[in-house]
Symmetry: D2
Subunit: 371 residues, 4 copies
Amino acid sequence: MSTLIKQHLVVAQNASGRNMNVPLYRFVGEKPGPKVYIQSSIHGAEVQGNVVIYHLIQKLKSMPICGEVILVPNCNPVGTNIKAGEYTLGRFDPVNGTNWNRGYHFDQAFVEEFASSVTTSESIKSIKTRFRTAMKKQLQDKLNQDWGLGLAQRLNLMLQQLAFDADYVLDLHNGPVSTRHIYVPEYAQESASLFNIPHVILMPKVFSGALDEATFCPWWILKELLNQQFSKMIDFEVEAFTLEMGSQEVISFSEGEFDATSIMTFLTAKKVLKSEKLVPINMPRKAVKLKNYKVLYSKQGGIVEYMLKPGEFAAKGDVLARVLNVDNLDTNEATTDILAPCDLVAILHFPSASVLSGTQLYKCFTHYFEL
Amino acid sequence: MSTLIKQHLVVAQNASGRNMNVPLYRFVGEKPGPKVYIQSSIHGAEVQGNVVIYHLIQKLKSMPICGEVILVPNCNPVGTNIKAGEYTLGRFDPVNGTNWNRGYHFDQAFVEEFASSVTTSESIKSIKTRFRTAMKKQLQDKLNQDWGLGLAQRLNLMLQQLAFDADYVLDLHNGPVSTRHIYVPEYAQESASLFNIPHVILMPKVFSGALDEATFCPWWILKELLNQQFSKMIDFEVEAFTLEMGSQEVISFSEGEFDATSIMTFLTAKKVLKSEKLVPINMPRKAVKLKNYKVLYSKQGGIVEYMLKPGEFAAKGDVLARVLNVDNLDTNEATTDILAPCDLVAILHFPSASVLSGTQLYKCFTHYFEL
Amino acid sequence: MSTLIKQHLVVAQNASGRNMNVPLYRFVGEKPGPKVYIQSSIHGAEVQGNVVIYHLIQKLKSMPICGEVILVPNCNPVGTNIKAGEYTLGRFDPVNGTNWNRGYHFDQAFVEEFASSVTTSESIKSIKTRFRTAMKKQLQDKLNQDWGLGLAQRLNLMLQQLAFDADYVLDLHNGPVSTRHIYVPEYAQESASLFNIPHVILMPKVFSGALDEATFCPWWILKELLNQQFSKMIDFEVEAFTLEMGSQEVISFSEGEFDATSIMTFLTAKKVLKSEKLVPINMPRKAVKLKNYKVLYSKQGGIVEYMLKPGEFAAKGDVLARVLNVDNLDTNEATTDILAPCDLVAILHFPSASVLSGTQLYKCFTHYFEL
Amino acid sequence: MSTLIKQHLVVAQNASGRNMNVPLYRFVGEKPGPKVYIQSSIHGAEVQGNVVIYHLIQKLKSMPICGEVILVPNCNPVGTNIKAGEYTLGRFDPVNGTNWNRGYHFDQAFVEEFASSVTTSESIKSIKTRFRTAMKKQLQDKLNQDWGLGLAQRLNLMLQQLAFDADYVLDLHNGPVSTRHIYVPEYAQESASLFNIPHVILMPKVFSGALDEATFCPWWILKELLNQQFSKMIDFEVEAFTLEMGSQEVISFSEGEFDATSIMTFLTAKKVLKSEKLVPINMPRKAVKLKNYKVLYSKQGGIVEYMLKPGEFAAKGDVLARVLNVDNLDTNEATTDILAPCDLVAILHFPSASVLSGTQLYKCFTHYFEL
């Protein structure tokens, strides 16, 4: 059996001057193999991932592991604990609005410089080791800087130091009111079918601050640079995903077990686990390119019924939502229907019936295809 | 047909110096009859009542009315518009924590003084008219005071001025995650069965600031004082209810139509409307005394799955909820079950999976009975 | 020298399932004497009291003490840590609006029942001991109840258990933008002049949930009942005060030292400390009855300059504040002056220039007198 | 005299379905001249600019104007009205954390394409007119897009449509607790001395979403491209500034008059106004390059006294702030001093004494020079 080590990582101090830490569970396998990093709840209201990690830990305790699996549930002790009304204001720092999932580090120039240090004879293993060492040093330098660092960014960089060692990085999130979906870098499209998740967003090589991007962008770009340099096909076998495990603000132990099995199926395909039972479910999987994953904003303010449920299809012109205007309850203008601008599948919608104009009502798959 | 008059009532000014107003729809019937006052959304996230009023208005437009029906949807333009994260922080004033439904006025001494002004020969109609006039003057005096008035209280008193004219007052609310239920003053217990609402809370003659109490307490106490004074059985036929129309933060047009029909059924029984079809549904109705409507507080903080759904029964010792502790995911203490302290029916539960200790997890009927 | 014991008291758990605790510093004197209880920051943004306690601890370390002094800084680990924007939302529970200083316990019937248990021969010391024991048992019973307790109330009751043992209770607060002032029960008016605080509010025997009231009300009422019962003049020598140490959201170490000296002056007069230097400053002290401590609410919304500073006098009709209306910047109605309704001294004003109608603009002494 | 036109511009709808609008005051001069655009309070708690615009309007009413001056006070009706506790949460959208001053539009490719359309013979006037038309069409296309637009971005783009017509754009802000300072594009360094503002930040040609950048970046880049293309020195005489008028959450009418005079001095130098009295004050003006305007983050959480006041100098190693740790009040570690990492002038500091680790404690001029 593998060894389980439990630690706590101090990532911040609160206004009482007390340390805030995240729990860290590390399974070290008896046999060598890939490293896996799984975290949950960087957005404080997106808590289902903690249940998924609970089931993973309970199951991994009795399974042989090749390599290493690090699990970091509840990885944002600040965001988890900010209540505003009954809900958790966990998506951004309440002091300055910083999204907790946008402060990871990526520096294209650094990757380019590193690429130029690689020689044609260097082994993939050596490149990976050196790249990780250099990257973690860069992260540490940022963490050490004299003038300090913002709260969200420090948290992100400390987690990234752990994650950058891994070959497979899974960041567990939830949508607002949402069906299950997963963000997959385009080069790892085949891995999308290893999870039991029906909706897949294919990500280009663009960094906008999130952990998955901060993981796959450096390796992706390094691979391309080296392949150009040496005219061959290096593959680092590093992949990173953001998994959206249904809706925020709710947990379900039974769904968490299903999600854990889905992740173990992926890990089995990647040879971290061994099990004949853990094969992907035969299910339809719809995919889009990121640019076709569209946000529909409300043009009006008012009270909204979301008619189209997450996972459902609407044809162009179908009613997605109905808005009530309290000043016209006696007229034909009491309600307004919001129509689908094109054929689409709703992936998630806003979690409140009360919206201002300019609210993200729906996020939708358009021009999607079957994987 | 009745006449429909639409007005707007200025109740506050915002920080831009602009007036904030509430819409007011007044149906004046051709024939005399009782006055009815219905408002919704004094708590800004509790928006289903607006849909109910929408359906009421659409239906009343084509029905004969005896008396008068005033409908005030979205009666709190401040609370409706306070977002904190994606949700509406509509239950209390964000500046000072004042619950928007606790600033109505009731003054026992005033009722006692009024009672002593009634003579044995005065007609009920005359008493009602004089009492309303005196009460509204008292409200106006409070509104006019030199040093001003708090935001919530001014809003409450302005609405109360409208409501105190009515014989039937319905205040439309929602629970957090909730089954439908209704607060009914004990003396009006028979009216509970006129609504199609399965759970009934019977209220004693105690004022804690809400509109229903501010309506029924004065009449209840006046009735008792006069009945003592004159040793007879006066009945003012004034009733007030708080209707909880399911869960906050969501609306449903189809459920709103059901709720509107339920209210019209009540109005038919009270002779405001005439319809042979509008009779109460034959359904089980559970009732409790207010003191047996109990709050279960969490003893721990953590992430919670609410196993018992609103409307469901649990026997003493059954699991109500399961709490996950992220620091013990590898042990048997990873989860803790919260058990029912006695036989109960869950009416509502907290709307977020993330709770601190001391959170209102559930509100439950205990020692309930069938109506 | 006295002995200093440091402890931590667990008062809550956060949503991560971690304990939240308050620090507790207990000086046990070599000689017997009164017990003193001092806490700060039950309202999380009112932090100057922590600095005052810091100076007290640093000074008391080297002074002989008669009796015992318990100091509980930062006594609300929840409220201290809720940011909403850059400021601390520390005045009420962000989940439900409950004021953190309104959940203390007082039960008139309990005091009356206890009074009837006292015999004419019982010593004051015995009465005090028995009353404290009974009261703390009542608090413990509330804390232990099956269905649990709300977060704020649990915190309050746990602190009250500590405070009810004390003869002198000091609750350190701040106003919004505020001059120093102190709440003093009417029976302890003479003690007001032992502090170096220029503004004094004299409190009647009314309980509205705060710690000072929860301390002095039971003793005051018990005293009156017993004095009626036995026609004599018992005095328990228990006093409780709320000290408002200037403005919230700022601290000053130098002002904190001044405040600490003021408290030590009081403790010297009460024979807890011995020092010839610690005598009250000869200064004017203005006092009002609570009913003459008036709130001025804004009638308009807009942007406000507070012309009258805390501590300053205005005659009836003087300009207190000027409101800007952005829709009329080109007219004579661009600004509106808010005038003093009567002669007054401003004690505090609202801390933001942006106000809705119904905002507490100023709190003022009216009909005040020199102590 | 000039003509004053007052309008209101609808920029959003709130959750009640009501329009939210901004006031717009437009002075059209009798003689031709530059266009000026001045807005205030895009960050809702930064309200002093409204007072400045009030004074400007009152003064401009009686002055001849060459050209046109558009004044848009309180330009964010959403952000102005979000209270969280007593303060205004006006810096970002409370729903999603979007900074209200980061959604303006800039598209380098668009500028490059436009540059290639310019011929060597085209007049500056013609280029300016065509560029403005093209840019405003681009803004309108964004505003019209089928899937809608986020709240902050729509507001920003609507204001930018007004601003892009102007030759001089002034965006009035406040810092948290702040001395007056101004952001000036490097090419307009000489204009910095036309304002009576002691601290100047020189901005490079980088766009990060703010209005000043969205104004000067297109013109700056267009100028450089054309100067390269035609090897001459075109100057469009378009300048944009962000003025920080002291601290947020307070207004002062007298300081507002000083600030208005400062802006009128600038406008006089730019020939919009004519006055011999309106000349810049002879005062020291310190300037830094943006990269030397540094943020100092707290490394600890705790309660802080800001020792160094905005505008004050500290030498390397001087104490800037002192942090209190409530768990060590009895030891030498009760307080920790935060030292200046190098010689600096404090420009602003955080407005609350309670900080988490990673809080922006100070923003400082380093390596500054006299203008």
